[in-house]
Symmetry: C2
C-alpha cells in the first residue's frame, strides 16, 4: 500500500516542479473534464487523500476552500501541512485493516458497504486518475507531461 | 494486487459499454495526449498489461498491430484473448514475488533495476492513468465519463 502512496507523492512533486514554468493564469484556466483547473486538481487530490484517511480514523474532516489556495506555493504548503497525518497513517498500515468496515459517520445505522482496503485503493487510484487528466492538459499547454511510470523510481529494490 | 487488477477490468468493461453509443469515427479520432485515440488507448492498455506479465515470466511477447484492431468489437476480442493469461498470473501472485528482480531479456548482463512488485504496480497505474485521459476525451465527446471510483464496486467485502 505504502509503495503506491510513495509513487503518488513522487509524481505529485514532479508535477509541482513542472508547474513552476507555467504562468499562474494557465494553472487556473478552466479545463475540460476533472475538477476544472490544474491547481484545483492538486488541491482536490491533496484534500481527498487527507479527508478519506481522517474519516477512516473517525477524525474531523474540516473542509478547506480552494479560493484560499490559488497559487502554486499555497497548494504546496497545503500539501506540506496535511502530509504528516497522511504519511503516519500509511506507514502504520497493516494488512489486517484490509477488511475493516468503513461506516460513514452520517449513516451509522446503515450496513457498511466499504472496507478500509477499498478506501485506501480509492485514494491511490483517485490521484493517478487525475494525473492522467493532467497529462492531457499538459499537452494542451504545449509541454511534455510528467511520466506516470511506476518503474524507474526505486520504489521496491529487487533482491 | 488482485483487487486493483479486478478494479481495472471492471472499469475497462464499463468503458467498452460507454463506447457502444459512440460512432467509430469518434473512437478513432486523434486526441490530444496519450496514445492518440480512444480505441488505440484500449488496445495499448490491453497490450501493455499482457506484455509486461509475459516478460516477467520469460514468455514471448509478440507485438500485435493496432491496424488489425480498429473496431470496438475487435478490441474487445483482443482483450478476451489475452485476459486468461493475465488473470492466471494475477491470481497466482504471491507477496514473496514482490522483490524478485526483473531482468530485461535484452540486457541480461546489466544489474536489474526493477522488481516484480514495481512492474505489477506499473501495469495497474498505467491503465488508471490512461482512463484519466479517457475521462477528459469523454467530456470532449460531450458524454459523462465512466466513474474511476474504487469504492462501490464490492471489491473487498468488509467483515
Amino acid at each position: 500500500m505504502e509503495t503506491f502512496f510513495r509513487y503518488n507523492w513522487i509524481v505529485r512533486e514532479q508535477w509541482y516542479a513542472w508547474c513552476e514554468d507555467i504562468p499562474l493564469e494557465e494553472l487556473l484556466r478552466p479545463r475540460t473534464g476533472g475538477v476544472g483547473s490544474i491547481l484545483q486538481t492538486f488541491f482536490h487530490v491533496i484534500d481527498v487523500e487527507w479527508s478519506w484517511l481522517q474519516l477512516l480514523q473517525g477524525k474531523p474532516d474540516d473542509p478547506e476552500d480552494f479560493e484560499d489556495y490559488k497559487t502554486l506555493e499555497a497548494v504546496r504548503q497545503y500539501d506540506r501541512k496535511l502530509r504528516p497525518d497522511v504519511e503516519a497513517f500509511v506507514v502504520a498500515w497493516d494488512p489486517s485493516m484490509e477488511k475493516k468496515a468503513y461506516i460513514h459517520p452520517e449513516s451509522k445505522d446503515k450496513v457498511a458497504q466499504e472496507s478500509w482496503g477499498e478506501v485506501m485503493r480509492h485514494v491511490i487510484a483517485h490521484e493517478i486518475h487525475h494525473m492522467g487528466q493532467m497529462s492531457v492538459w499538459a499537452r494542451e499547454v504545449g509541454k511534455k507531461p510528467v511520466s506516470a511510470n511506476v518503474i524507474g523510481k526505486g520504489l521496491i529494490i529487487p533482491d
